[in-house]
């Protein structure tokens, strides 16, 4: 297999973009990616998206977007893996280029969520879970995470406020990200007084949905310009766990994160001590905690300590959510995995301004689909 590099990135601001359609925002991200890569076209298009069929009445997104962006006639597909659709699409494009089958690909993640009523979006998000045995019982996607968080707090004795540093850090970093949905800081008091969504998860534990798209342009490493802006994919792995939380051997362990990160570390010849920046999947604060534990940054049950010990901000030992994370950058579901990758590229290029991590050599992104059922881990290095 050939090594693959990212030579261009693009993203849109995340928000309630009622004036723009799904293809408008996907196009926006792709055109800035082409400009950044100084290319006019790629051989194939891979689209990460979860819900276009349910909430936009539009499938066949490969052809739909290839047509829109002027890649007439080119190979194109949508890849769906719930909230991990973005990273799954990236890995699909990566494998196509690495195999030698094609020499260039655009991967775009896009989700257009705010055209629908909130309860319909809630129902569409719940399709990431088991329809027969979870959703039919009335549990929402937030509800599943709340069940995990409650049990976690019970087993390890953490208080709700112990999770606050994750949300506070995410918001503090999003202030400096012009693409973030929530560019405001929050205090501990705001965190504590936020309205309950599904206890113990309140509004400040949960990431906001939004409309957004992010994209990358990938080529074989030996065709990438050596201008200090190319980034090499050093590790890429995906794993799955049971679709239902209740079927897990241990509902408090992200087994698919453990499996995928282990492979990605091995491919990159690295380990947790060498990761300089980590964009993790903080759809809910409990997911940030479980991800840190699964990736070897904290012992089991000790994830909240990294936040409480002030290690997760851009100058800390393990900077996370440096552009706002899902919590404050926003979580346009199928686009999120691409936003994470774009942000790691920005860190490796040194483009992050106030939240730039110093001396970044290795960055990692982890994208979680469902309540832990599909997890992809990617590791990137500067060229």
């Amino acid at each position: 297999m050939r090594q693959v590099a990212i030579i261009g990135i693009g993203q849109t601001i995340i928000g309630e973009r009622w004036d723009r359609s799904l293809r408008d925002i996907a196009g926006e991200a792709v055109f800035s990616t082409l400009y950044d890569a100084q290319r006019e076209r790629a051989e194939a298009l891979f689209v990460g998206n979860m819900m276009s069929g349910t909430i936009n009445n539009q499938n066949n997104l490969g052809a739909y977007l290839a047509d829109w962006i002027g890649m007439w006639g080119d190979e194109a597909y949508k890849i769906e893996a719930a909230c991990a659709s973005g990273a799954a699409a990236f890995r699909s494009g990566l494998m196509a280029v690495a195999s030698g089958e094609i020499d260039s690909a655009i991967v775009v993640g896009v989700e257009k969520m705010t055209d629908q009523q909130p309860h319909d979006v809630t129902a569409a998000l719940a399709t990431a879970a088991d329809a027969d045995w979870e959703v039919e019982q009335g549990v929402s996607f937030v509800g599943l995470n709340a069940l995990i968080m409650r049990r976690y707090m019970h087993e390890y004795g953490w208080k709700h406020t112990d999770f606050a540093p994750f949300s506070i850090n995410a918001h503090a970093n999003a202030v400096y990200n012009p693409f973030a949905r929530l560019q405001n800081t929050i205090t501990l008091e705001v965190y504590q007084k936020a309205p309950m969504v599904a206890d113990p998860i309140n509004l400040m534990d949960a990431s906001p949905i939004g409309d957004g798209a992010a994209a990358v342009f990938i080529v074989p490493l030996d065709q990438a310009p050596l201008d200090g802006r190319s980034v090499v994919v050093a590790g890429s792995a995906a794993a799955t766990d049971t679709i239902s939380v209740h079927s897990r051997k241990d509902p408090l362990v992200l087994a698919a994160a453990q499996a995928s990160v282990k492979q990605a570390y091995a491919q990159a010849g690295t380990g947790p001590e060498e990761i300089d920046v980590f964009e993790l999947h903080d759809a809910f604060s409990i997911m940030a905690v479980l991800s840190l534990e699964a990736c070897g940054f904290a012992e089991r049950g000790q994830g909240p300590r990294l936040g409480l010990d002030n290690q997760i901000h851009p100058k800390g030992r393990l900077p996370i959510c440096t552009r706002g994370g899902l919590k404050a950058r926003g979580h346009p579901v199928g686009a999120t995995g691409l936003y994470q990758i774009v942000e790691i590229v920005q860190q490796l290029r040194g483009e992050c301004g106030e939240t730039q991590v110093e001396n970044v050599r290795t960055g990692m992104a982890q994208n979680i689909g469902g309540s832990g059922a599909t997890i992809l881990t990617h590791i990137f290095k500067a060229v």
Binding site: H119, T122, A123, Q137, G138, V142, M196, A198, D199
Partner: protein
């Protein structure tokens, strides 16, 4: 409306009928073709007792469409006495404060209406605080 889908699951939803693995004797709910404990084929039916305890719980305030009319309601992970954990709503709570470890038992209740107000009524299991009253004495709920 997905009439066939609900009909297909009636034994499990109304009777809590799962499986026991003929190879390793693991009790399995919901039923599946491959035993999650030993990886071999599992097809033998098994009647669960309907008793268990609360493993975790939450209250749903923002319900998915179809469940709006009953929100807020409490959903739990229930660890059945026979081993498996299942997702189910808690009901008949009245003044009982829900706690992890609380003993509960299965009852049959309406889960939701599938479709509009003239749609199919979907019934299934929920769990209530353990009362030790035989199920057959219970009047069919709304």
């Amino acid at each position: 409306m997905e009439i066939a889908r609900h009909w297909r699951l009636k034994k499990q939803r109304y009777g809590l009928v799962g499986e026991v693995c003929p190879h390793c004797e693991a009790k399995i709910f919901p039923p599946r073709d491959i035993c999650p404990s030993c990886g071999q084929e599992a097809r033998d039916l098994y009647q669960f007792s309907g008793r268990g305890e609360v493993y975790s719980y939450t209250t749903i305030y923002q319900a998915p469409s179809g469940f709006d009319e009953t929100a807020p309601y409490t959903v739990a992970l229930v660890k059945l006495d026979e081993g498996p954990i299942i997702t189910a709503q808690l009901t008949d709570l009245e003044d009982d404060k829900v706690e992890i470890g609380m003993p509960v038992e299965m009852v049959t209740r309406k889960l939701r209406t599938d479709g509009d107000e003239r749609g199919l009524l979907v019934y299934g299991y929920k769990f209530r605080p353990f009362q030790n009253i035989p199920q057959k004495n219970e009047a069919l709920p709304h």
